[in-house]
Amino acid sequence: MKKKCFIFSLIFFMACTLFLGINSQKIHAENKVYKVGTDLTFAPFEFQNDSGEYIGIDIDLLNTIAKKQNFTVDLKPLGFNSSVQAVQSGQVNAMIAGMSVTEERKKSFDFSNPYFIGGISMAVHGDNTEIKSYDDLKGKVVAVKTGTVSANYVDKIKDKYGFTVKSYDSADALYDVINVGGADAIFDDYPIIDYSITKGKSLKRVGDIQERCDYAFAVKKGTNQELVKMFNEGLKELKQTKEYDGIIAKYTSNSSQSNDASSIDESTFIGLIKNNYKSLLSGLEKTLILTLVSFIFAMVIGIMFGLFSVAPVKPLRMLSAFYVDVVRGIPLLVLAFFIFFGIPNITGKPMNEYIAGIITLTLNASAYIAEIVRGGIGAVPVDQMEAARSLGFSYTKTMRKIVLPQAIKIMIPSFVNQFVISLKDTTILSAIGLIELLQVSKIIVARTLQSSEVYLITAIIYLVIITLLTRLAKILERRFR
C-alpha cells in the first residue's frame, strides 16, 4: 500500500511541477503592451533559435525599437495568414512578418516606413568563377522554386539570356541542387540567399537585386497610429546609430563574425542536433507533460470504469462496457476533430487545443485502462475470492484486501505499456495544432529544410524513450511474476 501511495504522489507531484512550469512562462508586463503578430517561421526575418526563442531581423528590429521608444511587445507567432486576420479583428495591435507593401493591402492596413527592401537575386556556387553576370547564363541551367516571384522573373528573361529553367518544389532541394552541380545558378529572395550563406552554404550572389519591394510594419487601417509613429521614429534612430546595419548584418552578412549558436552549420547531422537540441528537448518535455497529465486523468476515469466492469451490479457493468466499446470504436483523430472542431460549433465557444488534446487522450486512454483493470482483476484466480469469502470477508473487503493488491501487480506493466501508447498518440494531436515534439520538428524542418534528417532525429528520440519505457514494462513484468 505504501509503495502505491508513493508512486501516485510522485506522479501527482511531477504533474503539478510541470503545470506550474508552464504557467510561470508568461511574460511580465510593463509600460504599454502591444501584441504583435508574426510569422511562425520565415528566416531570416523570424524563426526560432535553438532555445525556442524567436529571433530574426523583424524581431530584433522590433525589440530594439520598443526599448528605445519605451513600449513593450507581446510577440504572437501566429503565422502570416492568421496574423493578418488577428490584426483585422483587433486581437493583436500590429504585425511584422516580412510583409511587403502592396496597393491591395493598403486598403486594410496602415504601414510604417519600410524597414527593409526585399527583392530577388541570382546566386551561384561559391567556387564558380565562370558566371559573372546574366550574360554568362547562355546554355546554363537555372533553378528556381515553383510559384515564386523568382520563378516568374526567370521565365521572363530566360529567352533573352538563353538558359534552361528547372523548377523545384522545396527550398532545400533548390539549395541542394547547386551543391551537387544539378544547376549552375539559382534565383531566390536575396535575404534568404544571404541567410543561407551565413548558415554555411557555399554560395555567392551575382548581379543586381531585381523586383524590389518594401517590407513594413503594419497596423489595422485607422488604428494604433501612435504605434506606427513610434516604430517610424525608432527606426530612424536605429538607422542613425547604425544599430540597424548591425541587425541586418547579423542575419545576412557573409562574414558572420558573431559566434552565436545560430551560426552553426545546420546542413550536417551533428550541426542540426547541436543547433536544435534545446527546442527538441522542450518539445519532448511538452509531449511528456501532455502524456502525463492526460494519463493521470485517464487513470482516474479508467480505474473507475474498470471497477464498474467487475461490479456485482449489472447496470454498472453495462455502462462500463458501453463506454469502453464506444471510445475504442472511434479513431483517436476523429475524436480529436469532433472535440476540437465539433464541440465549439455546438457551444459557440472556441476550444483551446491543449484542452481538446488532453480530453481526447484522456478519453482514449481511459477506455484502455478500464480494460487493463478488468483484465488485471480477472487474472486473479477466482480461488482467491472464494478463499477470502469462506473466511467471512465481505465482497468489498475481499476486493480491497485480497483481489486488488494482487491485481495491481499484474496491471503495472500494462499501465506502462499504455503510457507508451499514449505517448505515441500525442503525435496525432499535432493535427489539431498542438505544439509537441513532432510539431517542433515540423517547425525546424520549415526553417532548416532538412526534412529527412530532422524526422530521423525525431524518430530516434521517440524510439529511445519508448524503448526505455518498454524495457521498464518488461522488467516490471518479470519482477511481478
Binding site: 484466480p381 480461488d383 482467491q384 472464494e386 478463499a387 477470502a388 469469502r389 469462506s390 473466511l391 467471512g392 470477508f393 465481505s394 473487503k397 484486501k401 485480497i402 493488491p405 494482487q406 501487480k409
Partner: protein, 245 residues
C-alpha cells in the same frame, strides 16, 4: 449429540444440468464424514453448498440453527464458524504465512494484533511450521502450503471444517504430513466433512462415509459398512476399481 449441519432436499442445477438431486443429510457434532465418489458426482458442489460458496437452487442448508438459504441470514457471520480447506490451498500469495493466518481474525473478529499473532504461532506449531512464519507462500512445498491453509482456517476458531480433496494436489511423499494434521484435528473432536480419494485415510479416521454418484447419495454409514458391505452395487463397483489398482 447435537445436529451441526442439516441438509434438506438440497437441489443444485447449473442451467439445465442437475448436479445435486434432493440431498438429505444430517451431520452431528464431532462427526468426521468422508465423502467419496467418482469424478463429477457432485462432491465438491455439495461441500460448497454447506458454506454457500454455491447458491442452492432449492432446498435448505441449516448450520448451527442458521438457515443459509434464508436471505436474511448474514452469511459472512456464519462462514466465520465454518473453516474451508481447498484442493489448491488458495493461500494469499501477497501476504506472509503469518499475515495469511492473522488477516481474518484481526480484520473480521477485530482481534488484537499481538494476540492474533500469538495464536497464529501456536497454530503453526501445531502443524509443525513455526519456523516458516515469515516465509511467503511461493517458497513453500505443496504439503507445507496445505498445512498453512489449515492453520489459516483454524485461526477463526471454526466449529466445522470442510476439506475438498486436500491431498490430491500433493506429491505422494507430502500427503502423509497433511493427513497427520487432519487426524489430530479429528482426535480433538472437530466436526469435519472431507471429500477425499484416500480410502486408507477414510477407513482409519472417519466415523461415517458417504458415497455419492450422479448427484445422489447411494451409501451412507460407518467405514466398515460402506467399504466391506456396500448397499449399492455402484459403490461396490467403484471401490473395487479404486482399491484394486
Amino acid at each position: 449429540m447435537e445436529t451441526k449441519i442439516l441438509v434438506n432436499k438440497l437441489v443444485k442445477k447449473y442451467g439445465d444440468h442437475l448436479v445435486l438431486d434432493k440431498i438429505d443429510v444430517a451431520i452431528k457434532e464431532k462427526d468426521v464424514v468422508c465423502v467419496i465418489g467418482p469424478s463429477g458426482s457432485g462432491k465438491s458442489t455439495f461441500l460448497r453448498c454447506i458454506n454457500k460458496l454455491e447458491e442452492p437452487t432449492s432446498g435448505q442448508v441449516i448450520v448451527d440453527k442458521f438457515d443459509l438459504t434464508d436471505k436474511n441470514t448474514n452469511i459472512n457471520e456464519v462462514r466465520q464458524h465454518i473453516g474451508m480447506v481447498f484442493q489448491q490451498f488458495n493461500l494469499f500469495p501477497h501476504l506472509s504465512v503469518l499475515d495469511n493466518i492473522t488477516l481474518a481474525p484481526i480484520d473480521i473478529k477485530k482481534m488484537d494484533k499481538n494476540e492474533a499473532e500469538k495464536r497464529a504461532i501456536e497454530l503453526l506449531e501445531a502443524v509443525g511450521l513455526a519456523n516458516k512464519k515469515d516465509a511467503y507462500p511461493d517458497s513453500l512445498s505443496g504439503g507445507q502450503k496445505q498445512r498453512v491453509a489449515i492453520a489459516r482456517a483454524l485461526a477463526m476458531d471454526p466449529d466445522i471444517m470442510l476439506f475438498d480433496e486436500p491431498t490430491s494436489a500433493l506429491d505422494p511423499e507430502m500427503v502423509g504430513e497433511v493427513l497427520q494434521v487432519m487426524k489430530n484435528l479429528a482426535k480433538q473432536g472437530m466436526t469435519m466433512v472431507i471429500v477425499t480419494h484416500e480410502m486408507g485415510f477414510a477407513k482409519e479416521v472417519a466415523n461415517r462415509v458417504v458415497f455419492m454418484d450422479g448427484g445422489h447419495i447411494l451409501d451412507d454409514g460407518s467405514p466398515d459398512q460402506v467399504f466391506n458391505n456396500p448397499k449399492s452395487e455402484r459403490t461396490a463397483n467403484f471401490l473395487n476399481r479404486v482399491l484394486n489398482v
